[in-house]
């Protein structure tokens, strides 16, 4: 099963990259985009058919490695694999 982990800087942390991107968009004429925050996206292929187990495992590795809890928070999405047709 596939787990998707979205890691973003906590709201209290200044994001210079996001700010730079927002300013670039403004200068490109997209005045309607007031703020941009840049984050990271991970796709994990987990050996499990249980969504709960997959989600728990993804959260565990996010806590241990993928996100730095001092400055980042994360959320997990689990994608069900399309059911294979049984003979």
């Amino acid at each position: 099963m596939k787990a998707k982990v979205f890691v973003t800087l906590k709201k209290s942390v200044f994001d210079p990259q996001g700010r730079t991107i927002a300013e670039a968009l403004q200068s490109m004429g997209y005045g309607g985009i007031s703020d941009v925050r840049q984050g990271k996206y991970f796709e994990l292929d987990v050996d499990s058919s249980s969504a709960d187990q997959t989600r728990a495992l993804a959260a565990e590795v996010a806590d241990k490695l993928l996100a730095n809890p001092v400055i980042e928070s994360y959320r997990v999405e689990v994608e069900q694999e399309p059911a294979s047709s049984t003979p």
Binding site: S12, V13, F14, P16, Q17, T20, L65, L66, N68, V70, I71
Partner: protein, 247 residues
């Protein structure tokens, strides 16, 4: 005394640290590969600068899982002096041996230049021969030196006197213009609560000989030598942890 200089894949200031310890200070030094479990009876450990594991994921994020870090953590817990320089500081942060985290430099530029830092705390093995308020001219070379910690952690660091170095002007003024990366409170280096683990972004090992532009970094190495001589080696837990009393 004996220095252990840990080498991770991608470390590139290990030889400078070795040179400073062995050829300038005249002490013994060993390179310790990150997969090794022993620090070979070192009296002090240096985590050098560089780009361990290519800075993949986050700077220092992968290095902290190396086998050697278990030995480094034990050594630190027993009171042994540990110096994290630049990437080494980042690794100490990721390991949790020091609090806080590093963000990208505020202006998004990699800064490779000489800066000035003021010694804020002399009660550590690495600054005991410096004077409070002493200004050191040291080179920096980093893209992620913007020190961040939550407000209560920053408050604790300040109130406990655990900010060891602060970016300053050549005459020692703590001003924004002297801060190359936007770090909170102009923090360039901090220590743990037991004061034996120090991390700093500037490179003292690259400022130990005048021919390199500054010899101001030598005082960190002279200090730890004096500290080890004063307290003896830390081979046994009872040898007296390097806990210096606050004056």
């Amino acid at each position: 005394m004996r220095f252990a200089i840990v080498v991770f894949p991608g470390s590139n200031c290990d030889h400078d640290a070795y040179h400073a310890a062995k050829h300038v200070l005249g002490q013994d030094a060993d390179f310790i590969w990150h997969k090794e479990a022993s620090l070979k009876g070192a009296d002090a450990v240096v985590l050098p600068g560089g780009f361990s594991h290519g800075d993949y994921l986050r700077t220092g994020a992968v290095a902290r899982f190396s086998p050697v870090m278990r030995a480094v953590a034990e050594f630190a817990r027993a009171g042994g002096p540990v110096l994290g320089i630049c990437n080494g500081f980042q690794i100490l942060l990721e390991t949790g041996l020091l609090p806080g985290a590093m963000l990208r430099n505020r202006d998004l530029k990699f800064h490779c230049e000489h800066v000035h830092v003021r010694v804020e705390q002399t009660v550590t093995p690495f600054t005991m021969q410096a004077a409070r308020g002493q200004v050191l001219r040291l080179p920096i070379a980093h893209g992620e030196g913007n020190y961040y910690a939550e407000p209560d952690v920053l408050q604790t660091l300040e109130s406990e006197g655990r900010v060891v170095f602060r970016y300053c002007s050549p005459d020692g003024a703590i001003v924004e213009a002297a801060n190359p990366n936007g770090s909170a409170g102009n923090i360039a280096g901090i220590c743990n609560d037991a004061r034996n683990v120090v991390g700093l972004m500037p490179h003292p090992e690259r400022a130990c000989e005048a021919v390199l532009g500054s010899a101001d970094g030598l005082v960190l190495f002279e200090s730890v030598l004096a500290s080890v001589r004063e307290r003896g080696t830390l081979r046994t837990p009872d040898a007296g942890a390097v806990i210096l009393t606050r004056s």
